[in-house]
Amino acid sequence: MPVITFGEAIKQAYREEMQRDKNVFLMGEDVGRWGSLYRSSTGLLEEFGSEQIKDAPISEAAIAGCGVGSALMGMRPIVEFMYIDFISIAMDQIVNHAAKWHQLSNGKIKLPMVIKTQGGAGRRNSSQHSQSLENWFVNVPGLITVMPSTPYDVKGLLKSAIRNDNPVVFIEHKCLYFDKQEVPEEEYLIPLGKADVKRTGDNVTIIATSWMVSFALQAAETLADEGISCEVIDPRTLWPLDKETIIQSVKKTGLCLVVTEAPAEGGWSGEASSVVHEHCFSELKKPVKRHCSIRTGIPYGATLEREVIPGAESIAGAVRELTNAPSSSPLTP
């Protein structure tokens, strides 16, 4: 199987879906000439022409509106927002319109629209270019929210998102574009709404999203040497949440850590934690622990931003804390 980058996997998904369906098009600032900020669409302008690859002016509200309007007319737009921080300008279109029209038409209108963006820290971009705002969408009825963490996943999930008839908010992470992985040449889809157990284990369940998944896996590796066996779950779709996979895991392990890059307070971590408590209360040995970014604007600079967000080491620390359980609830795998 060829080893490709996350960015390349995105491009393959674009290419396959654009070939398959001429109604699929990508629109955003510099998605054409530049091929997107992280080069996930380089060459596609030449390949598909300006009807399917559209460079758009710096008009985030209009870009989103174009998505809504063209989806209404049977197109399958992928509208890209260069940084999730700028989606703040397009929220009206996404929340008040894209998310509402299917319902307002009693199901007659479909709005197959992918709202694609990237978020998170790690590239030293400071607080206006490094936010984790996924939670805004999770709480809005009518939207599906996806956060892929690997090249394999991003390809299969993006293809599903493009084919899905709902508005799907698809949030990549700026630190993942150059990650590499084996990705099959044959076509595959990954269903939305299905979590992936990225590592199986018995002592603790770690639920981690997006970039945090890789750190959770690293932490699990470290902890394995210490005799702590971690199961790492990547929900992939934040809503609808695959509760089953999560519940099954926590019923087995009895301990759960939720890791997000977004600050804990009022974030999706509260959702995940609540779901686990609601469904695994009697199996839980301790309350679910949330391990998230410090509640601060992401600082600029070489190293600080990594200190304010979770990392492999801090995750391992959080798991150790969880598993050094009081004698009343000993570690029984």
Partner: protein
């Protein structure tokens, strides 16, 4: 004028005038929920512009949509019962009087001021790409011309030469805010200059002027000469909504004066000048009254949506057999 006589236009306006009156009555009886935004005085724009579209063109409106909707081809039944929250409404009674969609009649409206302009660009972009000669028309107010959405949409439509006609219905006010005080330019049409578009400002109380302009711009748009921005100057005779404390921002005298120039008065005067009999015009009222009485009787009998209808279509389930989450 695509062969439509002034008398026909007058009759259509009259119907919309009476439809608005009926709606106000129903609002007063609390049979229309939410705010009701009356349309008295703005019928020429609705009939002139929205009525000029072909069936397969797309019309987008805003928070004061009902006469646009009816002039644009939606049934009065569907529009009225939507305002009344009944299942026979355009949106099955789930949207109400400011936000509903009627895909069959290519009509869509929403209650966030300015937001329909970006959507119109998307509609027009699809039309162009699909190689059709369809046209998108987007109605909005003077107040909406101050939104960022207006600007972003106009620029995008202009650089991509999209088949969309933006119709700014300048009715003098955005809620209680007089246009002179809140829109920085004297004619909203001068905003066209920011997009290298023609400056078109017309008398929005003159139904013939409205229709002629609409016909012309629609034709030119079909030929690929779009987009266009047109300002139609009219006046909002009623308050912004039923219950509006109007005295906080205008005098009764101002309104009385403006009533002399409203589209029905204007069209009637011209018809009389042209030799039409007053009695002939008065005779139009009877059938309209009958039609609206029947409509209203029918409307109050229509059912309300159920809870299931309200939660069934939030999104399209990912898997077969998935039920709406509660």
């Amino acid at each position: 004028m695509s062969g439509v006589s002034l008398k026909n236009l007058y009759e259509e306006m009259l119907l919309l005038r009476r439809f608005d009156k009926l709606s106000m009555r129903l609002k007063m009886k609390d049979l229309i929920y939410s705010g009701y935004h009356p349309t008295e005085g703005q019928e020429a724009v609705a009939v002139g512009f929205c009525g000029a579209l072909r069936d397969d063109d797309v019309l987008l409106s805003t928070h004061r949509p009902h006469i646009h909707a009816v002039a644009g081809g939606c049934t009065m039944e569907a529009v009225l019962t939507e305002m009344m929250g009944r299942t026979t409404g355009c949106s099955g009674g789930l949207g109400g009087g400011m936000q509903y969609v009627d895909p069959e009649h290519n009509f869509y409206c929403g209650s966030v001021v300015g937001s329909n302009l970006p959507i119109a660009t998307g509609v027009a972009m699809a039309m162009k790409q699909q190689g059709s000669d369809r046209v998108c028309m987007c109605m909005f107010g003077d107040g909406a011309s101050n939104t960022g959405s207006f600007h972003e949409a106009l620029n995008l439509a202009a650089i991509w030469k999209l088949p969309v006609i933006f119709v700014c219905e300048n009715n003098g006010f955005a809620e209680a805010m007089p246009v002179e005080e809140f829109v920085a330019c004297k004619r909203i049409s001068s905003r066209s200059r920011a997009y290298d578009l023609e400056e078109i400002s017309i008398d929005g109380n003159d139904v013939e002027a409205c229709r002629a302009t609409a016909d012309d711009l629609i034709e030119r748009t079909r030929k690929g000469e779009g987009p266009f921005l047109v300002e139609a100057v009219t006046y909002r005779i009623r308050g912004h909504y039923v219950g509006d404390p109007e005295k906080t921002y205008r005098t009764k005298d101002e309104v009385a004066e403006k009533k002399q120039e409203e589209p029905l008065v204007r069209a009637r005067e011209r018809l009389l000048e042209q030799g039409t009999d007053a009695a002939e015009l008065d005779a139009l009222e009877g059938p309209i009254k009958e039609r609206l009485d029947a409509l209203s009787e029918w409307a109050v009998e229509q059912p309300f949506p159920t809870l299931e209808q309200a939660i069934d279509n939030v999104y399209i389930p990912l898997t077969e057999g998935e039920v709406a989450c509660r």
